[in-house]
């Protein structure tokens, strides 16, 4: 064979393809996993908890898994090329970790059918797209119990973002658990119509404190509410991560999102070839939800009551959405002794009696 330009190109191409073929042939090659993050990995909140899960995954399956991430990805069309990039780089399992990536994930998944996708907190699935979520409301039942026992004014506050099922479930679980220990409890709720606006979050917390709330929970993205609680010498809770660094005295505890166990189980499923596009909704029992250490301000009897809720949730003897439950207008929504179904919870758009909004 004479070395013409055409032949040279052919053989060079063959040389380049050969290692690629070999790579596919050996199973020992580690599984590449990609993560798409909404915020910065150092946000001490949502993204930070997913990043912790990624690190646990790498640690637990050392040698079998390599995991990359992209942070600060906006919830708009610009997410699609980032997801496609991750797929092109050879990631075979990709987690998109925010509700607003729902349609983008499906779009990217359509173009990369051999990649397995998992979308956090969403509900749209496909042959290669699964969804996963945490039973955040179980943590709200614990903080609600603590709030109900520690409030002297029987008026507790709640700074929320939007009236969507995830937030409504939290408000209701918090209120029901507080009422279980103190029937006089009223929850004053302020929805600020944004996930992130520290100045407005702070103003909402100030307003609730002015109106007599002495424990304030929050479902927004910054620790502003806790900083106000610290200043006003009242109590609050962290959400998603331990936020005691922002309010050492006011911070009673926090519900922690621990995504590690889930990420490990899914990566294992891919390695074993068992992966299916599931709809997963885990909580305390499965270990993706936990509470931060109680602060010194939480008395012994309150700790015991809170621990009982956690233990009951784990063994199935306690479920916060157990009837009788009536809504704000007094109409019965869940009959006595009945447990609310997951499907009903996921579309919850009404507040329980005792919520003032």
């Amino acid at each position: 064979m004479t070395l013409t330009r055409r032949n040279f190109v052919k053989s060079a191409a063959a040389g380049l393809t050969l290692p690629a073929l070999c790579r596919n042939a050996f199973a020992a090659e580690p599984l590449k996993v990609g993560f798409v993050y909404l915020g910065a990995i150092g946000d001490y909140g949502w993204t930070w908890s997913h990043e912790k899960g990624r690190k646990e995954l790498v640690e637990a399956l050392k040698g079998q898994v390599v995991a990359n991430y992209v942070e600060n990805v906006k919830e708009d069309a610009s997410a699609i090329p980032i997801m496609k990039d991750l797929a092109q780089q050879g990631n075979k399992l990709i987690f998109t970790t925010s509700y607003g990536y729902m349609d983008q994930t499906l779009e990217a998944a359509k173009q990369f059918p051999d990649v397995k996708w998992e979308h956090c907190t969403g509900y749209k699935r496909a042959d290669n797209v699964g969804t996963y979520n945490s039973r955040f409301y179980q943590g709200r039942a614990v903080t609600g119990t603590i709030a109900g026992m520690m409030s002297k004014t029987s008026t507790i506050g709640y700074v929320g973002s939007f009236k969507i099922p995830e937030v409504v479930m939290g408000v209701n679980a918090f209120t029901l658990a507080a009422q279980a220990v103190n029937p006089k409890i009223t929850t004053k709720l302020v929805m600020i119509d944004t996930w992130f606006d520290p100045a407005k979050e702070a103003a909402a917390a100030e307003t609730l404190a002015n109106l007599g709330c002495d424990v304030i929970a929050q479902h927004v993205d910054s620790p502003a509410v806790l900083q106000v609680c610290e200043k006003r010498k009242i109590y609050g809770f962290g959400y998603g991560a331990d936020m005691s660094r922002f309010a050492p005295k006011a911070h009673l505890t926090a519900s922690l999102d621990l995504w590690g166990p889930y990420y490990i189980s899914r990566a294992k499923a891919v390695l074993d070839g068992r992966w299916k596009p599931d709809d997963t909704w885990w909580g305390f029992k499965e270990g993706i939800l936990a509470m931060a250490p109680y602060s010194k301000a939480v008395p012994e009897n309150v700790r015991a009551a809170a621990d009982k809720i956690i233990a009951g949730t784990k063994d199935g003897s306690y479920e916060v959405f157990t009837g009788p439950i009536s809504d704000q207008s007094g109409k019965e929504r869940v009959a006595k002794g009945e447990q609310m179904k997951d499907a009903d919870m996921l579309v919850m758009d009404w507040y329980v009696k005792g919520v003032q909004s």
């Binding site: 915020g39 910065a40 150092g42 946000d43 001490y44 506050g157 009236k163 004053k188 709720l189 302020v190 929805m191 600020i192 119509d193 944004t194 992130f196 606006d197 520290p198 100045a199 407005k200 979050e201 702070a202 103003a203 909402a204 100030e206 307003t207 609730l208 002015n210 109106l211 910054s222 620790p223 502003a224 900083q227 200043k231 660094r245 922002f246 003032q356 909004s357």
Partner: protein, 313 residues
């Protein structure tokens, strides 16, 4: 409804209003000189992160002086970023609207970059300079319970109003904004005066940003001003370029925003929450409609606003 209730509400109103007021005073002076700087949001964020960083890093050495130096740092950083804008629009004659928007985006990015290492840190709140028995008193706090920046903002509204309307320097600044060619032909340094006005506006935007990261929530978070810079810009138009109306307008916004929170927390859910959130904007439209119905008599918009000054051309 006791006296205490209104005092508490007023304290919240002041906290909501002050940063918007600070940024708007600065922008008023800039626009009076004939330049429109849409980069307020970006300059606020740069001020917020630099104010926080200075206070955080030098806090242990400077003690009580730390927040003052932090605010000074925020002002300098805001002014420096505005001079970048000044160089582009004054010296190079670029389009003011486009350059201002670029500054806003640049500020968001730069502040995130500088602030990456400060996420999750806190500083002491830059609180009331008065002793606790005055600042903490349930009634006394309505006068004494605020950060020094609150008093500074109120004083500066009057100083700027007086400067623009009662001093010779203010008259020259307005002349530059009304008719740059005439001001130039009788020997005033149009470009120099505009540089000074832009730097003043930048410094005030920087201080407004520091109010977020050092007073309301003493921490740094990306884009923590959450769009207040745009409200400040709207407020200048809303005020008809008058300092007195600027003060009234800022507090009008602040009262409406606080009212929304009170209404929700008190159970007035007969109005959807989106309606409450839209209230300030609805009212702004109403007020602007009323003002324009009365003709332009109430407005003191500078005639040369947004026009590049290129005397050689």
């Amino acid at each position: 409804m006791s006296l205490g209730f209104f005092i508490d509400a007023l304290v919240t109103v002041v906290a909501v209003t002050t940063p918007i007021l600070l940024a708007a005073i600065g922008e008023l002076v800039v626009e009076k000189s004939g330049v429109i700087n849409l980069g307020v949001e970006g300059m606020m964020l740069i001020g917020a992160v630099v104010g926080f960083a200075v206070t955080f890093n030098y806090g242990p050495d400077l003690g009580d002086l730390a927040p003052w130096i932090g605010v000074l740092g925020a002002a300098i950083a805001g002014a420096a970023s505005s001079l970048l804008f000044g160089f582009l629009v004054l010296t190079l004659g670029s389009n003011q609207v486009a350059t201002g928007l670029a500054l806003a985006i640049f500020g968001i990015g730069l502040s995130s970059l500088i602030g990456a290492g400060y996420v999750g840190m806190t500083v002491e709140e830059f609180g009331s300079p008065f002793p606790d028995w005055l600042a903490g008193d349930p009634v006394g706090k309505v006068v004494f319970g605020y950060s020094p920046l609150v008093y500074f903002a109120l004083i500066m509204v009057f100083v700027v109003g007086w400067f623009l309307n009662r001093t010779r320097a203010g008259l020259i600044l307005r002349a530059v904004g009304e008719n740059d060619l005439s001001a130039h032909s009788i020997g005033y340094p149009v470009i120099g005066i505009r540089y000074a006005a832009i730097a003043f506006g930048g410094a005030f935007a920087g201080i407004a940003g520091a109010y977020f990261s050092m007073v309301i929530t003493p921490m740094w978070a990306q884009q923590m001003t959450a769009g207040r810079g745009w409200i400040a810009l709207a407020l200048v138009v809303f005020s008809g370029w008058r300092a007195g109306r600027l003060l009234a307008g800022a507090y009008f916004f602040g009262v409406l925003m606080t009212l929304e929170l009170y209404a929700k927390a008190s159970g007035f859910s007969f109005l959807p929450s989106q309606f409450w959130a839209a209230m300030p904007y609805i009212m702004a439209v109403v007020v602007l409609a009323v003002i324009s119905a009365r003709g332009v008599a109430g407005s003191e918009a500078p005639a040369c606003l947004g026009r590049p000054f290129l005397p050689s051309a």
